[in-house]
Symmetry: C2
Amino acid sequence: MFAVTILGNNSATPAYGRFPTAQVVTIHEHQILIDCGEAAQMQLAKYKIRRRKINHILISHLHGDHYYGLIGLLTSMGLLGRDTDLHLYAPAELEKIIEAQFAVSNITMTYKIHFHALEKEGLIVDENKFSISCFKVKHSIACWGFLIEEKKPPRKLDKEKALAYNIPAAYYNALKEGNDYTTKEGDVIKNELVTLPNTPVKKYAYCADTIFFEEIIPTIKNVHLLYHEATYLKDLKEKATQYFHSTTEQAATIAKLSNAKKLLIGHFSSRYEKLDEFLTEAKAVFNNTDLAIEGVTYIV
Amino acid sequence: MFAVTILGNNSATPAYGRFPTAQVVTIHEHQILIDCGEAAQMQLAKYKIRRRKINHILISHLHGDHYYGLIGLLTSMGLLGRDTDLHLYAPAELEKIIEAQFAVSNITMTYKIHFHALEKEGLIVDENKFSISCFKVKHSIACWGFLIEEKKPPRKLDKEKALAYNIPAAYYNALKEGNDYTTKEGDVIKNELVTLPNTPVKKYAYCADTIFFEEIIPTIKNVHLLYHEATYLKDLKEKATQYFHSTTEQAATIAKLSNAKKLLIGHFSSRYEKLDEFLTEAKAVFNNTDLAIEGVTYIV
C-alpha cells in the first residue's frame, strides 16, 4: 500500500467546511504526515487514521494554514501516552515556536521529538522501505516540496522454484537482492532461475505552495502521483503570480512536462465554493487529474 | 441579550467529536471570546457566529486546549480583511509566541492587536455597556477567571410620563442616571415621577481550569450564570486534585456557596464518552445546572 489521504484541501483560511492543508502518506506499515493545518488532529480522528503510526512529519513552509495544527497534534500525542520517537522536518524557525509553546504549558513530553531543519535539497529520510528527499519550490517565503520513493529489492522471489532447487529460506533475501546461490556441492544456481523482475518502485511528489516553477521538473520527473497546488482557476493567473501560487492550468502543465502518471490538485482558494471547474480546467491540459477531496485516499 | 455560546467543551485533547475549550459571550451588540482551543474558528463558522463583532478575546491560561486556536483565528481575521482593533487579554508569555508566528509567516496584519498582559486581579475592560474583571483561580500554571458584568443606567425611562411633563428627549439620559428635571419656569420634576427602577445588572463568571478553590467565592458571589469546569466525575476527586481540576460535586458546591442562580459545567475529560452522569451528580448538589453543550446558547 502506497497512498495519500487528504485531511485538508483549502488554502489560507478554512471555508465551506474545507480544512487547511494536511495529508497522510501511507507507505507499507509507515505513515507520513505532510503539512498540518489547524484541526488536522480532528481530521485524523474523523477519518479514523491512527496517529501512532505517524513517525515522520514534514512541514513545507511556515504559513499558518500549513502548520497551525502541529502543536495541537504533538501535545495530544503526548497526552495519549505516545512513547516512540517522532521525526519532524521543517524550516528551522519552527523549532523555537514549538519550544516556546511547550515551555509555557509546563507539560513534560512523554516522547522525544527530533527536529530536523530543512536547509538544503536532497535526502532527508532513508528508511528500509522508503526514502524522502526535499526540494525547493518557489513561494513568498521559503517553501519545500517532498519526494517520497518506495524501496523494493531488485528481484521478486519465485518461491516454487526456490523450493525446487532446495535453497534454504535464510538465503531468500540474498536472492531478492540479485545474488546467485551456490550449493554445498559447489553448483551455482543463477539468480534468474529462481527470481522474477520486481515491479518498479513508485514515487510520490508533493508540491505546495508554489508559483509555476519549471525548475522542479527534473526532480519530480516520472512520478506515479504528483500533488501540485492549484489555488486559482486559470483566469486568475495574474493573482496567482502575485501571491506565488498556481492555477489549474499551470499545475496541469507541470504534470504534463514532468511526465507524471497522475495529478492531484488541491489548496483551493476560499473564494470558490464549488470545485468542478478546477477539474475541468486541469483535465483539459492533463487528463489524468483528480481533485484532492478530504477523507479520500488516492493510490500512488 | 446577555448569553454564552459554547464552541468547545472538552478538556486537554479533542475526543468524541468534542472540541477543546472556547466560548462566545454576547452582551448587547458586543461579542467576547473566552479561550480559544484549536479549531475555534471552524466552530465559529459552524455555528454562524460573525467574528467581526468580536473585539475582546480573553485567554485564561497557556495550556494548549485553551489557546491553540487563537493564532489561526487572528490570521484568518486578517486574511478576511478585518480593520478594527482587537483587544487580547492573556498571560504575558503569549505575546512573544504570537509575534514569533507572525514574524515567520511574513504577513502584514490588516488590523491592530492590543495585547494586555494579565498580571493582577481587577478591572480589565470598562466599556459603556459592560465591564470585565479578572481573578485568580488555582491551576498547575497561572490561570485566570473572568467576571463579566452588564452595565445599566440606574433608572428606566417611563416615556409616556416624560412626554406628559414635556421633558425634552435630549434630557432622557440624565433622567436614566437618576437626575431630576428643572423646567424653564424653575419647577422641579422629581426623577421618580418619570422613571422606574431598572432591572438589576446581570453577571457572568467563567472559572476554568481550577482545583476546588473557595477563595473565588467572594468575587463570584450572586452571579446569574456561573461557568465552572468539571473535568471529572466525583469518584475521581483524587485525580482532580492531583491535576488541579474539579469534579462535578466540587463545581456544584462552588455554585451553591457563591449563591449563583445557575451553573454551567464543561471541560469534560476525554475519558468520558457519555456526559449524563455529569449532570446527575452536579444536580444532586446544585439543582439549576446545565451541561455546556457545543453550539448551544445559555442566557445569563
